[in-house]
C-alpha cells in the first residue's frame, strides 16, 4: 500500500515532486564535507545502476514518459488556442492605433527637443523611462553576482581546466580572430558612442564589445585578456560605472521631480557631444554590460578571472 498509485497521488498533493519513488522521509540534509559527498554520489550511482529504484507499476518510467509527452502536447495546444482566441480580438496588426497615439506623439515630436537624442528609442530608455533602465542594469549586476556565487572556485584544484579546452593552439582560429577582432571592437565602440544618433546604445554596444573580449580570450587563452583585465580592475570598473549611473540618475530624478535646474546642457542635436547625460550614461551602461558579459564568460570557463 505504501507504494501504490494512490499513495503516490497523495504525496503529490502534499507537494512531493517525485511520485516515482516509494514513501520515504524527506528530511533535511546536513552539511557534508565536499569530498565525502562526491564519493557518496559515485557510490550512489553504482547502486542506482545495479538496483533500480522501487517503482509502483502504474508509474513505470515508460508510462510516465508517455504521460509527460501527452500532457505537454495537450497543455501546449490548450494554451496556444486560448491565446489565439485572445489575439484574434486584438487590434489590427500594422496600423497606427488611436490608443497609443497620445503617448507616442510626445516621444516622437518633442523627444528631440526634450532629450536631444536623435534615436527616439535611446531617448525613451535613458530619459523618459530611465528608472526601468536603471533597474535593468541592476538585473545584469545581480546576474553577474549570482554567477560569481555559483561558479567561482576559490581553491586551486580546478586550475588545470584551462589547458584542457582552450583552443589557443589553433592557428586558423587565431588568424581569423586577428582579422575580425578589431572590426568587432570598433563596431562595438561605434554602436556604443553613437547610441543617441543611430541604432544601438549601451546595451548593444556593450554586448558586442563583450563578445569581442570573449573572442580574444577564446583564441589566445585567458592569460592574454587576464593581463589587462585583473579582478581588481574588473571590480573597479563595474563599481565606478554603476555608481555613476545610479547617482547621476538619482540626481536627475530628484531635480526633475522638484522642478530644479540640472545644469546639464543638451547641446546641438545630431552632434556626437550632445543630448546631455545620454552619452555618458551609454558609456557607463556599456562598461557594465561589457564587464558582465566577459565576467560571466570567465566564470563559466575557468571559475576565476
Amino acid at each position: 500500500m505504501k507504494n501504490s498509485a494512490f499513495a503516490g497521488f497523495l504525496r503529490w498533493l502534499d507537494g512531493d515532486p517525485e511520485i516515482l519513488l516509494g514513501a520515504e522521509e524527506m528530511t533535511e540534509q546536513p552539511d557534508v564535507p565536499r569530498d565525502s559527498q562526491k564519493q557518496r554520489i559515485h557510490h550512489l550511482e553504482h547502486v542506482l545502476k545495479d538496483h533500480p529504484l522501487p517503482v509502483p507499476r502504474a508509474f513505470s518510467r515508460r508510462n510516465v514518459r508517455i504521460f509527460y509527452a501527452v500532457v505537454s502536447v495537450v497543455c501546449c495546444l490548450v494554451i496556444i488556442s486560448c491565446l489565439l482566441l485572445a489575439v484574434s480580438d486584438l487590434p489590427r496588426f500594422g496600423v497606427e492605433h488611436a490608443e497609443v497615439e497620445e503617448v507616442t506623439e510626445k516621444y516622437v515630436l518633442d523627444g528631440l527637443e526634450e532629450t536631444g537624442a536623435v534615436n527616439i528609442v535611446s531617448g525613451i530608455i535613458l530619459d523618459y523611462r530611465a528608472f526601468d533602465t536603471l533597474g535593468e542594469s541592476f538585473v545584469l549586476f545581480c546576474a553577474l553576482n549570482c554567477v560569481l556565487i555559483l561558479l567561482r572556485t576559490d581553491s586551486r584544484e580546478e586550475e588545470h581546466d584551462i589547458s584542457y579546452y582552450s583552443l589557443s593552439g589553433d592557428d586558423v582560429l587565431r588568424k581569423s580572430i586577428m582579422f575580425t577582432l578589431p572590426l568587432v571592437l570598433v563596431f562595438g565602440v561605434y554602436v556604443l558612442l553613437n547610441g543617441h544618433l543611430s541604432p544601438g546604445g549601451g546595451f548593444s554596444g556593450g554586448a558586442v564589445m563583450g563578445g569581442g573580449l570573449i573572442l580574444l580570450s577564446t583564441g589566445y587563452g585567458g592569460e592574454v585578456t587576464g593581463r589587462f583585465i585583473t579582478e581588481r580592475r574588473f571590480k573597479t570598473v563595474c563599481f565606478i560605472a554603476l555608481s555613476f549611473y545610479c547617482l547621476s540618475k538619482s540626481y536627475v530624478f530628484f531635480t526633475g521631480a522638484n522642478g530644479l535646474e540640472t545644469g546639464i546642457s543638451l547641446g546641438t542635436p545630431g552632434a556626437i557631444l550632445s543630448s546631455g547625460l545620454i552619452l555618458p550614461l551609454n558609456i557607463a551602461v556599456g562598461m557594465v554590460v561589457t564587464c558582465t558579459m566577459y565576467g560571466i564568460y570567465r566564470m563559466f570557463k575557468k571559475g576565476s578571472f
Binding site: 507537494g15 512531493d16 528530511t27 533535511e28 552539511d31 538585473v139 556565487i149
Partner: protein, 497 residues
C-alpha cells in the same frame, strides 16, 4: 514641494548604492552597511506613511522632468509607506537574527555577495511597493526573483541547489505569464502608467471592445503573480525552498519576497482594473477558491511534515491562502483584513524560522521533531520566541495573527454571497483547529523534559535576542492596537483606488 515626498526615491537609490558598495567591501563592513541602510529605509518609508496620513492624500512622484503618462512615476501613500517600512524592518531583523547562520552556511569569500543580494532584494521590494508603472513593476519583479534565488542558492549543498532550480523555473514561468498579461493590456490600452491604464480600461469596459483580451490579460496577471507568491496548487516549492535555505534567507523569502508580489497584485487590482470591476469577477472567484483550498491543504500538509522547518514552510501556504481569500472577497473590509494578515505574517514567519534554527542547533543539528524533544529547555529564549510566533500563528488574542483572523471573520460575516461566506468561515475554523493542533504539538515537544542528553547551549548573542524581541514586540503592538492599525489600513485602501 515637501521634502518628505522624495523619500521613496531616496530609499530605492540608497539600497541600490549600498548594493554596489557591498561588491567592493569585505563581509563585515558589508553587513553593517546593509543593516544600517535597511534601518534607514524603514524610517524613510514610515515617514512617508505618516506624511500621507497627516495630509490625508497620496501623491505621485515623477521620475525625471516629465510625469504621466510619458515618464516613470512612483506613488507614495499610507499603505505603501506602511508595507515598505515593515518590509525593510523585517529584512533588517532577519539578517540580524541569522548572522551566525550566515557565517556558518556561507563561504567567507562570498559573504559580502550575500549582503549585496539582500540589498538588491530591499531595493526591488521597495520599488515594487512604490511603483506606479506596471513595466517598472516587471523589471523589479525580475530583480526580486533573481536576487531571492541568489540568497537561496548561496548555501553550497545539493538540496539547496535543487530547490533553487525549481524555485527559479516556477518563478520564471510566473514572470512570463505576468509579462504576457502586461503586454496584452498594453496592446489594448496603450499605457503603462497605472492611472492612465485604469482610464483606458474604464473606456474599454463602457464600449465593450476587446473584452476577451482584457479578461485574458487580467487572468494572466493574477495567475503569474499567484504562482510567484505560492498560491495553492503552486505552493509545492515552499517546503524544499524554505526548508533547505540558510535561516535568514528562508525568513527573507517567506517574509518579504512573497509579500512584495502580493502587494503588487493588490495594487494592480485596485488601481488599474478596479476591485469591483466585472472584468475581475472571474479572477476573483478563482483566487477565492484557490485561497480556501490553500488554507485547508496547506494546514493538512503542514500537519503531516516530520521536521519543523518544513512544517513552518507549509504553514506559509495556508497563511498566503488567507491573504488571497481577502483579495478574492474583494470588499473593503476583506482587503483591510488581507493587508493586516500580510503584515502579521511578515512579522511572524521570520521569527519562527530564526527561532526554529536556534532550536535545531541545540538538538544536534537535526530539525526532525524527534530530535527537538526538550530543546526549549536547552535554549529557553529561543523556545519562548518560537512559542510566541506559534501563538500568533494559532490566533491567540493579543497577537497579530488573532486580529487578522478576527477581521477575516468580520469581513466574511458581512459578505452578501451566502455560499462564499460559509465556505470562508468553515475554512477559517478548520485551519484554526489544524494550526492549533500542529503548533501545540510542536510546543509540547520542545518544552517536554525528556530528550537527548543536554548539550552545551550556544552563547546567547545580542543580535538574535534583539531581532526576535523587536519582532515579537511589533507583533504584540499590532495585536493590541489592531483597531488603530486597521483604521490606518482602511484609510490607505481608500487612497489606493
Amino acid at each position: 514641494m515637501d521634502f518628505v515626498r522624495n523619500f521613496p526615491l531616496f530609499s530605492v537609490a540608497l539600497c541600490l548604492m549600498s548594493a554596489v558598495l557591498c561588491s567592493v567591501l569585505g563581509a563585515k563592513p558589508a553587513k553593517w552597511l546593509t543593516l544600517s541602510v535597511q534601518a534607514v529605509n524603514c524610517c524613510l518609508s514610515a515617514s512617508v506613511a505618516a506624511f500621507c496620513l497627516c495630509t490625508g492624500e497620496s501623491y505621485l512622484y515623477p521620475m525625471g522632468f516629465i510625469g504621466a503618462p510619458w515618464g516613470n512615476e512612483l506613488r507614495g501613500g499610507v499603505l505603501e509607506g506602511l508595507i515598505g517600512s515593515s518590509a525593510a524592518l523585517v529584512l533588517c531583523m532577519s539578517v540580524l537574527g541569522g548572522v551566525r547562520f550566515i557565517k556558518r552556511d556561507i563561504l567567507p569569500a562570498k559573504q559580502n555577495l550575500y549582503f549585496l543580494l539582500i540589498n538588491l532584494v530591499g531595493a526591488a521590494v521597495t520599488s515594487l511597493i512604490y511603483t506606479n508603472d506596471v513595466f517598472t513593476g516587471y523589471v523589479f519583479l525580475e530583480i526580486l526573483t533573481l536576487s531571492s534565488c541568489g540568497i537561496l542558492m548561496i548555501r553550497d549543498i545539493g538540496r539547496t541547489t535543487l530547490a533553487a532550480t525549481r524555485y527559479l523555473i516556477l518563478n520564471l514561468m510566473g514572470s512570463g505569464l505576468f509579462l504576457l498579461g502586461l503586454i496584452l493590456s498594453y496592446d489594448i490600452t496603450g499605457h503603462l502608467l497605472m492611472q492612465s491604464m485604469a482610464g483606458s480600461f474604464d473606456l474599454l469596459e463602457q464600449s465593450g471592445e476587446h473584452a476577451i483580451v482584457a479578461s485574458v490579460a487580467v487572468g494572466l496577471i493574477c495567475v503569474g503573480l499567484g504562482i510567484k507568491s505560492g498560491l495553492y496548487p503552486f505552493h509545492f516549492w515552499m517546503q524544499d525552498t524554505y526548508g533547505s535555505a540558510t535561516p535568514s534567507s528562508a525568513a527573507v523569502l517567506s517574509g518579504v519576497v512573497s509579500k512584495g508580489y502580493i502587494f503588487l497584485l493588490i495594487k494592480i487590482m485596485c488601481r488599474v482594473i478596479g476591485i469591483g470591476s466585472p472584468l475581475l469577477e472571474g479572477a476573483r472567484f478563482i483566487l477565492l477558491v484557490l485561497g480556501i483550498l490553500g488554507i485547508v491543504m496547506g494546514s493538512v500538509g503542514a500537519m503531516r511534515q516530520s521536521s519543523v522547518n518544513r512544517m513552518i514552510a507549509l504553514s506559509s501556504a495556508a497563511q498566503i491562502g488567507y491573504i488571497y481569500v481577502g483579495i478574492g472577497l474583494g470588499t473593503e473590509l476583506s482587503l483591510a483584513a488581507a493587508i493586516l494578515q500580510l503584515i502579521a505574517h511578515m512579522l511572524t514567519k521570520p521569527l519562527l524560522f530564526l527561532a526554529a534554527a536556534r532550536l535545531t542547533e541545540v538538538s544536534s543539528g537535526s530539525p526532525v521533531f524527534k530530535a527537538l524533544q526538550g530543546s526549549g529547555r536547552r535554549d529557553p529564549f529561543a523556545g519562548a520566541m518560537f512559542s510566541a510566533g506559534a501563538f500568533s500563528m494559532m490566533g491567540i488574542p493579543a497577537f497579530a495573527g488573532f486580529s487578522a483572523k478576527l477581521y477575516f471573520c468580520v469581513a466574511a460575516v458581512e459578505y452578501q454571497d451566502l455560499a462564499a461566506r460559509w465556505a470562508v468561515l468553515l475554512a477559517l475554523a478548520v485551519s484554526t483547529v489544524l494550526n492549533t493542533y500542529y503548533f501545540i504539538r510542536t510546543a509540547i515537544r520542545i518544552w517536554s523534559p525528556i530528550g537527548p542528553a543536554a548539550e552545551k547551549p550556544p552563547r546567547h548573542e545580542l543580535a538574535f535576542v534583539a531581532a526576535s524581541t523587536v519582532l515579537v514586540a511589533l507583533n504584540l503592538v499590532i495585536g493590541l492596537w489592531s483597531g488603530q492599525i486597521s483604521r490606518v489600513i482602511s484609510a490607505g485602501i481608500e487612497m489606493l483606488s
